[in-house]
């Protein structure tokens, strides 16, 4: 964890690094098993959750992984969302959502690519319409006023014999 030096004097010539440095590319933050967070989480790093989170998790440009010990009661917005632990909430994966064999999810899944591994448990709705923008307060309004292509036209090769679209399974 970063430790801020709050009592050191800050002057114009100070070389003390800023309190909130920009995220390093490829950086992964981990919430350990003893960490409990009640509130919203945002950021620009990949995140692994092994602790408990209640609130909203929004890392739309990064991956969110709920580890085997992770217990989340929150909606999760991520580029990729992987679940090994337990989630009660809706998952929004800009690229993909994967519920691994040990994963337990109760909520709705919204992503162009959803994978449910053998042994995983899931209850809820699955929405895999391709090219749907990640919902946000502003994007939600856009979506309603600007209908996109119909699923059929957006995925012309969407037949059971085509492996090129949508969900995968294992």
């Amino acid at each position: 964890m970063w430790k801020k030096s709050e009592d050191s004097p800050v002057t114009a010539t100070s070389t003390v690094p800023p309190a909130a440095p920009p995220a390093r590319p490829g950086a992964i933050a981990t919430l350990g098993p003893s960490i409990v967070i009640k509130g919203d989480l945002t950021g620009e790093e990949d995140l692994v959750i092994e602790g408990r989170v209640e609130g909203e998790i929004r890392l739309t440009k990064n991956s969110v992984t709920v580890g085997k010990n992770g217990r989340v009661k929150a909606d999760i917005y991520g580029k990729r969302v992987h679940v090994d632990g337990e989630v009660r909430g809706n998952l929004y994966g800009d690229q993909e959502i994967v519920i691994r064999a040990s994963g337990r999810v109760q909520g709705n899944l919204v992503s162009p690519r959803v994978t449910l591994e053998n042994g995983s448990k899931f209850k809820g709705a699955i929405d895999m319409e391709p090219a749907k923008p990640m919902p946000s307060p502003s994007a939600g309004a856009e979506r309603k006023s600007a209908p996109g292509p119909s699923p059929a036209s957006a995925a012309p090769s969407a037949t059971p014999k085509s492996p090129s679209t949508g969900a995968t399974s294992s």
């Binding site: 959803v114 994978t115 053998n118 809820g124 995925a155 969407a158 059971p160 085509s162 679209t165 969900a167």
Partner: protein
Amino acid sequence: MKITQRPGGGSAKIESETGTHQSLALPALYRGLRTGTQKILDLGPAIGPNVAFFGRLPCSLFIADLHESLFPGTSDGAVRRNDSFEELLGLELPDDGGFDLVLAWDLLNYLDQDEISALSRRLADVCSGGAVLFAMITTRRVMPNKPTVFRILAPDRLSYRLESGVKRAAPMYKEPDLGRIMPDFGVESTFLLRNGMQEYLFSRHASA
């Protein structure tokens, strides 16, 4: 094919069985699904290949997993929960309706007549007129101890997995029985398969 596995990481070994069979009802469902956006309610568990299958079609999918609610865990003991079935349906099925297709798989075999009636009433509430209910009723005297997990391999092919060789007596519901205890639905067509399963396509009455 017989394989041996350790369910749920436990130490006990049980015999499980997998196989495939041709479905005669699924092709009809599949043709309907390709004609427009459909809302599907799956009463069975979330299965990767099934989600993948429906994910390629213009439809939305809601997974209720009554298997897990009624028969929690993976042991072959298949102890049913004693909760009120109607309460369970209230908790597990979505309130917002408009479903065009319900996949009941072989669940009806594991419900008594009152429970099937309750399920039928609840489904009538959440289905649109003309919605199709797909169910498999065994015509044999015995059946697996808990509902079977089916995987859609192709529009006309299912694979199944039995977690143990433990069997129980089957209710062997007949078409007139089902028509009587599910008054909101009518039998559209049935297909008797070689494996002893009879596939049913029910249709919700428009006036229900």
